[in-house]
Structures are given as C-alpha cells and as structure tokens.
C-alpha cells in the first residue's frame, strides 16, 4: 500500500509544485493578499467626511467646528448655501452636514444654541456611530461654553458629579483593525484554497480523461483519495506558517500569545476537513466551471455564518443554529481565542470538537461518495 500511495503522492506533489504559476499565486495569496486585506477597515469611523454650512461666522461657531477633528472627522468643505450642502451630501462627498444658524452666537450666550446635523443614512451603521460622536463633541463644547461664560468655574467643573469611564480594550488595546482583518483573511484564504486545490486536482483528471487510468490502476479509492488531499494539506499548512510569521506577525505586528503547536495542529485538521469537502464537490462536478460555481455557493454561506460579519450573539435564531454547521465558525473562534487571548485547549475544546465532528463527517462522506464514483 505504501508503495502505491507513495508513487501517487509523488505524482501529485510534482504536479502541484512544478506549476510555477500556481506556486506564485499561492505565495501571493498567503502574503500579498493578506497584506492588502489587512489594510482594509471594517466599520469604525475614521476621517468621516463632514461639510459645514456656517451662517453665523462667529467665534462660537468656529470654536464648534474646530472640535470636529480627525481621527473621527475630516472637514471636507464649507458649503456656501443650502443647495451647495445638499449637493455635497447627494454626491457622497460629505456624509454629515452641520448647519449653524445665523444667530448662533447670541443663542449660545443665552444657553439655547441650536444647530442642525444632517446625516447621510445610507450606511446606517457608520451614520449611527458618527452621530454619537457629534453628540459627544457638542456636549464637550457646551461645558466649555458654560465655563467661558463664567456660569461654571474651573472648580465647579472638577466638582461636577460625573462618571468617567476608563475603557481598556483587552487583546487589542488600540483597536487596530489590521490585527483582525489580516488573521481573518488568512483563515479565508486557507478555506478557499484548500477547497479549490483538492477539488481541481480531482476534476482535472476527469477533464483530461486520465481518471480512466486511475480506475484501472491497482490504487484503492482510499489511497487515491489520500493522495489527492495530503499534498494540498501539506502545502497549505506550510504557507500558513509562512504567512502567520511573516505577514501577520512580521508586518502587522499582531502579538501571538497562544500555543502555536496547538494552533497549527488544529489548522492541519481543519485543512484536511475542507479538502475533503473539496473532494465531495469534485465527485459531483463534471468540469472546472461547475466546481467554481459550487465553490462560491458553499464558501460564502460558510464564511457568512462564521461570525466574521455578524457576531454569533447578534445573529437571528435561525442563523445561530445554521452557523453550527459552518466549520469556519469553530475555526475562527478557535484561532482568535488561541492566538489573541492565549487560551489553551481547556478553553477551546468546544471548537476543536466542532471541527473534529464536522471534519470527520465531511471526510467520511466524501470517501464514501468517492469510493462509489470510482467503481
């Protein structure tokens, strides 16, 4: 058995490693693509474009506008008229419009200053966060004004009863989004490439007709199956190690606290499971085009249910249940817990069991289907 399997493995490794195009793309996928993805932001508000229509042109209005500063806001334009402001908002040049009325200065002195904020609600999430920031800034401004007017003295300000929150963000103190996006992209790439490589390794034999040769060879289905998924697993595991140290840790400076042996062992099991899923696709598909479509059909729901977009606790009930079927959900939770929080097997056993159960099922199912299709 080892002789046959060994020969077949050698052939598969050769096929994979002698295609320089593929090698080049694989290396790019695990380095360049992750570098690019790490630069994307997810949702937080940065340089939110804001336009001001200042009808007051007073010291008070300028003081208020001066508070709308980066990193949250970026003043993109002073509108000269209502129409100009509308145009800026329509065109998406500004997402927030601040209108300061002509008698703002007097209003503020009389403690009844009113200004208007028009928010582009298209991206509702960002709009909500931006409006919260504005509310916070105007509250700060209000205190400052009270102080300037002498209604509040310095000592009174320090005596205002208030609760100061000292917020500490654990595991990612500066909320650096690249820490998250780079690792998430690595997991996406592992999932996508594992499925794609194993599926195409098998379908290719069908397309070229070389499957007939394999049928008449003394190879057993299990050996053929193993020969198709082992090279994928080995190559992707190596690339993941490269990527984690070189890109995730090296470029984005993500501190990796966890047990890396644990991480890579479970990653190997995960790759094997996903590669088995790829083989199941290959059994059904007749050509690469069908593989591509099925892959998209399977990969997105998996990614979507993984919790990367919507955290599991915020999902609708049906979705939370459905997410239990996505191996990526366990793998993501596992990866972030181990690498970011330094959690050990005791904390993540639930995820490991999930990956093992789904993985064994996928493995058994595709071996079974594969065996039937070979006969």
């Amino acid at each position: 058995m080892w002789g046959r399997l060994g020969a077949m493995l050698r052939k598969e490794f050769n096929q994979l490693l002698h295609d320089y195009w593929i090698l080049f793309i694989l290396v790019y996928a695990f380095t360049g693509a992750i570098y690019v993805a790490g630069h994307s932001i997810s949702m937080e508000i940065k340089n939110y474009p804001i336009a001001v229509l200042d009808l007051s042109q007073s010291r008070e209005s300028r003081d208020l506008v001066a508070l709308l500063q980066p990193p949250y806001f970026k003043l993109v334009a002073y509108a000269r008229s209502d129409a100009a402001l509308v145009k800026l908002l329509d065109g998406g040049k500004a997402s927030l419009g601040l209108v300061i009325p002509p008698d703002f200065s007097r209003q503020v002195r009389e403690n009844r200053g009113k200004c208007q904020v028009i928010s582009d609600g298209t991206l509702s999430m960002s709009a909500t966060i931006a409006m919260a920031h504005v509310a916070q800034i105007t509250a700060k401004y209000g205190i400052k004004m009270l102080e300037q007017q002498g209604q509040l003295t310095r000592t009174m300000i320090t005596q205002i009863p208030r609760v100061d929150t000292r917020i500490r963000v654990a595991y990612n103190p500066n909320i650096t989004s690249s820490w998250f996006t780079s690792l998430l992209e690595l997991m996406n790439i592992i999932t996508m490439i594992s499925m794609l490589l194993s599926a195409s390794a098998m379908v290719r034999e069908k397309v070229y007709g070389t499957i007939e040769q394999l049928h008449v060879s003394p190879l057993r289905p299990a050996e053929l199956f193993a020969a198709k998924i082992i090279p994928t697993t080995v190559v992707i595991l190596m690339l993941s190690i490269l990527s984690l140290f070189w890109v995730v840790k090296g470029i984005f400076n993500v501190p990796l606290y966890g047990n890396l042996v644990l991480f890579f062992s479970v990653t190997a099991i995960y790759i094997l499971s996903i590669a088995s899923l790829g083989m199941a696709i290959a059994v059904i598909a007749k050509n690469i085009a069908q593989v591509a479509m099925m892959l998209l059909l399977i990969m997105y729901p998996m990614l979507f249910l993984s919790g990367a977009f919507t955290p599991p606790e915020s999902m609708a009930t049906w979705m939370r249940w459905a997410s239990l079927l996505s191996p990526m959900r366990y793998y993501m939770d596992f990866g972030f817990q181990v690498l970011y929080k330094g959690n050990g097997l005791m904390d993540v056993w639930y995820d490991v069991v999930g990956i093992l159960v789904i993985g064994s099922f996928l493995f058994a199912f595709s071996v079974w289907r594969f065996g039937r299709s070979i006969r």
Binding site: I22, I25, L26, H39, S40, I41, S42, Y48, D90, N111, R112, K114, Q116, V117, I118, S119, G121, T122, L123, S124, S126, A127, A132, V134, Q136, A139, Y141, M145, L146, T158, I160, P161, R162, V163, T165, R166, R168, V169, A170, S177, M192, I193, L196, S200, R204, V207, I288, A289, Q290, A292, L296, L297, Y300, P301, F304, L305, P311, E313, F336, N343
Partner: protein
C-alpha cells in the same frame, strides 16, 4: 464580420445551455447569496453579554447598572463575584465586556465628585469593540447628563436656565429609518455582479485552451476581437439577467426603498457587467489552466469587492492602500451609483461622469484582453 461574432456567440450560448448544472448554478448561487446576506447580515451589534463587578453594592451602583440593561444592546450575564471570575468570562468569550464599579462609587457621587469607572472590552473583533466603546460612552453620557442637570438645577447661579448651551437636532436623510437592509441589499447586488460575472468570464478562453478546442478558433477566419466579443456577449447577457433577478428580489422580497430611475440603473448595470466579465476575460487570456484563472479571479475580486468597494464602510475612511484598491475596481463606482439611485433618487444628470468612467474602464479592460490574446499555438 458581425456574422462571425453572432456565430461564436451562438456557439457559446449553446454550450452554456447544454450544461444545466453550470447554467443553474450561475442563476441560483447569486439568489442564495442575496437571500443569505439580505436576511442575515445585521450590522446592529446587539445582545452583547455584559458582566458587572459591583464593589459598591448600593442603590447608586444598581441604578447605574440598570442604565445598561434598559437597552437591547446588552444582555446581562450577571454580577461576577471577583475580578478573576470576570476575566475568565471575558477570556472564554462568554462575556464581551466587564464593568467594574469601584467601592467608593456612591460616596463620591453623593459628594459631587467625579468617579473613575473601569470598563474592559473584548477587542478581538475591532469593529465590535468600537461599537461597544460607543455604546458604553453613550449610556454613560446619558447617566452623566442626568447627574449634570440635577447639579445645574441646584448650583448654577442663573438657576432658571439649567439647559446646556448647545443642543443638536439630528436629521437623517436618504435612509431615514436607518435600516441596514437599505444599504446591504443594494450593496449585495454590486458584489454579486462582481463575483459571478468575473468567474464566468475567467473560464471563457482558458477552458478552450485546456481542452484543446481553442485550435478550432485559432484555425477559423474569425479575428481576435470577434472571438472575444462572441464569447463575452452571451455571458454579459447572463450577468444582466442576474442583475434583473437580484433587482426584483430587492424590490419585491426585501422591499428596499427605491426612488430612482430603473432605466438609469439598468444602463449602469449593463456597463458594469461588461466591465466585470472583461476583468475575468483578461485573467482567462493570461492563465494557462482553469485552476490558475480561477485562483487569480477569486483573489482579485472577493476581498476587494467586500472590503474596498464601500460596501460596509465609507471609502473615505480607508487608508491610502485601501483608497488605491478602491479606485482600481469598478465596484466602487457602481456602488455609488446604486446607492444614489436607490436611496437618493439621482440619475443620469448626476452620474453621467461615473457612467463615462465605467465606459472607459470597459474600453481599457477589453483592450488589455485583446492585446494579450494571441491567435497562436504555444
């Protein structure tokens, strides 16, 4: 000349129609994606499990904790006995934030003094962390303004005007109810029309090359541009049908607010589909095997479309690398037009420049494909 384009298009269309699995998937997969994201993707971070550490144990501290529980943003896990237990909950992911109320909380408040409160937020998902910080600050601000107005009523000299000097009146345009489906569903249309056409286009040439049938085309009198046009046209049609299906879904199934011009959106969608098929076509011409074509296409379309097109966050908030990528992909331009049409009711008059940009994009991409496509045996 056009007869040859039609002949090749006809052949391509028949090939496509005779692969019912491929044909079916090309229409079903976009629908599945729309349903999944349309119903499932909520950007509203809600029901965050919260744990309190109450070292004060007075009505003041309970009152403060209550202010967190009146919203649907948080769901309480209870009060932890000590710091260690709270940290453990946070570490295991069962709790997302811990609020630590100090022992002198009520004493300081009743003495009109500032209190320092410790909040620990799970930062492993940055966007979620950001939202949580926002919620905590918001709720805390409400609590403070209650304290402040009590205080001002008591101690400010002009006792009759305890109000803050400035108040802000917020109005939300274009999506007044701030419903996330109004931006997610049209956004998904843009994404779907990027991913699927690109992969359809990516297999067009390389499939023939890999199976050897490319020789028929090479030996035929058809010119290079006729081959590319004949191959692209049926798939642009498929992509456009995908657009019509997803549009119908967003209007009738998801009931997204649509106040713009259907005609304008359709023109833009046709141009956009031409671009995305063209992107795939370029990869198809470059690649030697279908696997390579597929890999390049996935890498070049999926992440940029989701992360950089302005789907979930404004392009303006991206850093320089992000903005650069955003301007390389047609999805960014189409995203603007789609949202502008759906929610702002803008049309030809406003977006003619973007339409021209898309048309130029199409010309450039097909020129690249044509230049790289050789009628030669290698």
């Amino acid at each position: 000349m056009t007869a040859r384009v039609i002949a090749i298009a006809h052949k391509e269309a028949r090939e496509f129609l005779r692969d019912p699995i491929y044909l079916g998937l090309a229409f079903i997969a976009p629908v599945v994606l729309m349903v999944l994201f349309g119903y499932g993707l909520t950007m509203d971070v809600k029901h965050l499990p919260i744990v309190f550490l109450d070292h004060d144990r007075t009505t003041y501290s309970r009152d403060y904790m209550d202010s967190f529980l009146h919203s649907e943003y948080f769901s309480p896990l209870g009060i932890a006995p000590d710091r260690k237990a709270a940290d453990k909950l946070l570490r295991s992911g069962r709790a997302r934030l811990v609020i630590d109320i100090p022992p002198d909380f009520s004493r300081l408040i009743s003495k009109q003094k500032p209190v320092q409160l410790g909040v620990t937020v799970d930062g492993s998902f940055p966007s979620r962390a950001q939202v949580m910080v926002g919620y905590v600050n918001g709720i805390n601000r409400l609590y403070n303004s209650r304290l402040l107005s009590n205080y001002l009523a008591k101690s400010v000299r002009s006792g009759s005007t305890p109000a803050m000097p400035v108040s802000v009146n917020f109005s939300v345009w274009y999506n007044p109810s701030l419903e996330s489906k109004n931006f997610i569903v049209p956004g998904m249309q843009v994404i779907v029309l990027m991913l699927f056409p690109a992969i359809l286009g990516a297999l067009l040439i390389v499939r023939e090359r890999e199976t050897g049938t490319i020789f028929n085309l090479i030996a035929s009198p058809a010119k290079r541009w006729e081959i590319l046009a004949g191959k692209a046209i049926p798939y642009i049609t498929v992509a456009f049908l995908d657009y019509l299906i997803t549009f119908a879904m967003s209007i009738f199934l998801f009931k997204v607010r649509f106040i713009g011009s259907f005609l304008f959106l359709s023109c833009a969608a046709l141009l956009y589909s031409t671009c995305t098929i063209g992107i795939g076509l370029v990869f198809s011409v470059i690649a030697r095997t279908q696997l390579v074509a597929m890999l390049i296409t996935f890498l070049a379309t999926i992440t940029p479309a989701f992360n950089y097109s302005g789907f979930l966050a404004p392009v303006a908030s991206q850093d320089q690398v992000g903005q650069f990528v955003a301007h390389l992909i047609p999805a960014t331009y189409f995203m603007d037009m789609v949202r502008g049409t759906y929610l702002k009711g803008l049309g030809f008059a406003f977006y003619w420049q973007d339409l021209v940009a898309l048309a130029l994009y199409a010309i450039v991409i097909y020129t690249i494909a044509l230049t790289l496509f050789r009628k030669r045996i290698d």
